[in-house]
């Protein structure tokens, strides 16, 4: 029996104050499959990632990892750092008083590595992300793209099984964004990581993932191939995407 079956949502609901963000959401995210969470702004993509990561608990329903319940209503049974996940936040969440290297090294603190090993691993990850020369600089002195790479390096350094990207490329120019997308895809393949990307940008989603879940009005459909969704989905996001494609082709 395969014990690495990935994440599963079962009838999950989540509200903040008076607004219900997720309403009876169920789906499975198989291990090793790169999946995009697609939906308009404010539809609950980030909340879904926070629930998967164990940073929030559901109000109802349960979340499973490899068949084992990890979150039940109002309870986080398995803490975030024991889920094998890592995340690049929308605002990157870099620690501003630490250098790029220190950000990565502190991110490894949970592994309790020897100091030299932590430094070595941090340098190695910064090199993979192409910013080893910026190791000594603080986030405030880096460009947007460089900051994204530091956040990515911090997330990759401890070798996560799942990498969550929460609208990580918002605010980046096109060339930088697509260079980063390609690099992330390569790294994910090299390290055999499962990517889960929250985005409202279909190009971004299609560049990184083969599969997608559409979030709409607090509900989610089953996982489907992005190609199929682009052709057939009735979701407004895909509808407008098809129109843009048609107008480009027509023009």
């Amino acid at each position: 029996m395969n014990t690495r079956t990935g994440f599963e949502f079962r009838n999950v609901c989540k509200s903040f104050a008076v607004s219900r963000v997720l309403n009876d959401v169920s789906f499975a995210l198989p291990d090793g499959q790169q999946t995009a969470l697609i939906g308009a702004s404010g539809c609950g993509k980030s909340t879904l990632l926070l629930l998967l990561a164990g940073l929030e608990a559901p109000d109802a329903g349960e979340i499973l990892l490899d068949g084992r319940a990890i979150s039940t209503p109002n309870e986080i049974l398995v803490p975030p750092h024991e889920r094998g996940v890592s995340m690049v936040f929308q605002d990157l969440a870099l620690w501003p008083n630490l250098s790029a290297l220190e950000n990565v090294v502190l991110g490894l603190a949970g592994l309790r590595l020897a100091r030299t090993e932590a430094q070595r691993r941090a340098h190695e990850t910064l090199r993979i992300c192409g910013i080893e020369s910026l190791a000594g600089r603080r986030p405030g002195t880096l460009s947007g793209g460089e900051q994204q790479r530091v956040a990515l390096a911090r997330s990759l350094a401890h070798g996560p099984r799942f990498l969550f990207l929460d609208e990580p490329f918002a605010g980046l120019d096109g060339p930088t964004k697509f260079r980063l997308l390609t690099e992330i895809q390569q790294i994910a393949r090299q390290k055999n990581m499962t990517l889960i990307v929250a985005t409202h940008d279909l190009l971004e989603a299609a560049s990184l993932c083969e599969h997608a879940i559409i979030l709409d009005d607090g509900r989610a459909n089953d996982v489907a191939r992005i190609d199929d969704l682009i052709d057939k989905s009735s979701s407004p996001i895909f509808g407008s995407f098809r129109e843009v494609l048609r107008s480009i082709q027509g023009g």
Binding site: A53, L55, P80, F89, A93, L106, A109
Partner: protein, 517 residues
């Protein structure tokens, strides 16, 4: 291992912890309130002619102080916050100095100036007018700084949008409205604080509630009477303060404790700059320069260096010790309260309301409550109850609201995702606090601690009631000797105190975070 997620997760422990911490802050006031419950029948006996007159005087003065503080403080805070006013930081820092001086020092200054100025200024100052001037010296800066901080929490884009819709005038209207509620709160706070302050009333010969309470304790040694008077003043204050706090706390919490996303780019407007500069300089001359001039006038008759240094040597240790203890206790308690509140807006409003009410209660109420609590303690605890720790602790509990504002502001400026990222990476809680949180919050918390130390130093009522025998502070020594000692000695001591407070204020100003674009 404690997860960093604890910093951001809700939980019942937050409300329980907050209630425990706030109960600790309220504890000094409880003994007298409980006693009053048993002696309701005898409470009517304290309403003698003199006490009623003192209440009328105190509340008349406080109403005038509230009006002056709001009408002067609001524009003085708003204009330099949104318009370019050259040198405004130095002027604001100088105007903040009276906040950190015991009010009786300012009163002594006005009193000696009145003696030189002659009639009609003499009669004006030696009456309610003098009290209003002295208390406005703290009320105006408090309202001004609140308005300034409230406006500084506006984002650049908010102001840009208003500016596009109606120019500089619309911006001014918008920020006046935005800063109005917290400024009202600050002005009323300052006014209420004046009710229980005995210094200016005694110096100007005005019968005030604070002076009556002090007389009951220091001259009549009637602690029961003093307790009942304190309680009456406290209940009257509560009657005014509680509804106001409930009404303004939400806007105070969202404007003064808010997190700024993009700093305001100050607008250039020549007339606004001129008005701002003129207002700040004139207010500075009236509220600070004039009383300081009066305070130091007697120095022309000679400087009593040796006696002043002797007094300084006798009191410096205690002054620093009480201030240090108060600052330390207060900072720890404020951080705990900020931790319990987290980012929960309801808990924040609850804490702001309760702490504001505690802050405006007469300090003598808390000090007398602690004196009474001491009498119930077992004999083994006597060394602790009569030690400097008691004074430091009492001052800390009184000044917690100040430190909480700084702790909440610094906590609010760290993004939520910072702790979430640490939690997901498995960074141990202690490591995250030491490496990230503490360095980020350090400056703001230290400034809060230094302010508490200065405010604790300028408090005379709590120290007067609770200090161990012979262990006085410099302001208390000045307050005690001012009636009998030569004017030049009092002036020299005041000069030393003002110089010390000024130096610390410069230190605080130097530590204040710089605005970045």
């Amino acid at each position: 291992m404690i997860s960093c997620l604890i910093l951001e997760r809700p939980g019942r422990w937050r409300i329980i912890g907050l209630i425990v911490a706030l109960s600790l802050c309220a504890a000094p006031y409880l003994p007298l309130l409980i006693q009053a419950g048993f002696e309701v029948g005898t409470l009517g006996n304290i309403f003698t002619d003199a006490f009623v007159r003192s209440l009328v005087n105190s509340f008349t003065v406080s109403i005038l102080v509230a009006i002056v503080s709001y009408t002067v403080g609001l524009p003085l805070g708003v204009v330099p916050a949104v318009f370019q006013v050259r040198g405004h930081k130095a002027l604001l820092a100088l105007l903040a100095l009276p906040l950190l001086l015991p009010s009786f020092l300012v009163a002594i200054g006005w009193s000696s100036l009145a003696a030189v100025a002659g009639e009609p200024i003499h009669s004006f100052i030696n009456g309610r007018g003098g009290c209003v001037l002295v208390f406005s010296a703290t009320g105006v800066p408090l309202a001004m700084l609140t308005a300034y901080i409230a406006c500084a929490s506006l984002t650049g884009s908010q102001l840009d949008a208003v500016r596009l819709s109606g120019g500089a005038r619309a911006v001014l209207r918008y920020v006046f409205r935005y800063a109005s509620a917290p400024t009202v709160l600050a002005a009323v706070l300052a006014a209420i604080l004046s009710v229980s302050d005995p210094g200016p009333g005694q110096i100007f010969g005005v019968l005030t509630a604070g002076a009556e309470i002090l007389t009951s304790v220091a001259a009549l040694y009637d602690f029961t009477l003093a307790g009942q008077q304190c309680l009456t003043v406290g209940l009257l204050v509560l009657l005014i303060a509680a509804p106001l706090m409930l009404f303004t706390a939400p806007s105070f919490a969202s404007s003064v404790l808010a997190r700024q996303t993009r700093p305001v780019e100050r607008l250039y407007h020549s007339r606004a700059e001129l008005c701002g500069l003129f207002g700040l300089v004139v207010t500075l001359l009236i509220l600070l320069a004039a009383p300081l001039l009066g305070l130091f006038l007697p120095l022309g008759n000679g400087v009593e260096v040796s006696r002043a240094l002797e007094e300084l040597r006798r009191t410096t240790g205690n002054t620093v010790l009480y201030a240090g203890l108060a600052s330390g206790f207060c900072t720890c308690l404020a951080l705990a309260i900020a931790f319990f509140i987290g980012r929960n807006h309801r808990l924040m409003i609850m804490a702001v309301v309760i702490l504001s009410i505690i802050f405006v209660l007469p300090p003598s109420l808390g000090a007398l409550g602690l004196l009474q609590a001491k009498s119930f303690l077992p004999g083994q605890l006597d060394p602790l109850a009569k030690s400097s720790f008691m004074v430091g602790g009492a001052l800390a509990l009184r000044l917690v609201p100040v430190a909480v504002v700084f702790a909440l502001r610094s906590w609010g400026s760290t993004p939520r995702s910072s702790a979430l990222a640490a939690a997901i990476q498995g960074v141990p809680f202690s490591r995250f606090v030491l490496r990230v949180l503490a360095p980020l919050m350090f400056r703001s918390v230290v400034i809060g601690g230094l302010l508490v130390a200065l405010l604790a130093t300028s408090d005379i009522v709590t120290v007067l009631f609770l200090h161990p025998p012979g262990e006085s502070t410099l302001p208390l020594a000045i307050f005690t000797v001012m009636a009998n000692a030569p004017e030049s000695l009092v002036s020299t001591l005041c000069l030393l105190y003002v110089a010390g407070a000024g130096a610390l204020l410069i230190g605080i100003a130097a530590m204040a975070p710089r605005r970045t674009a």
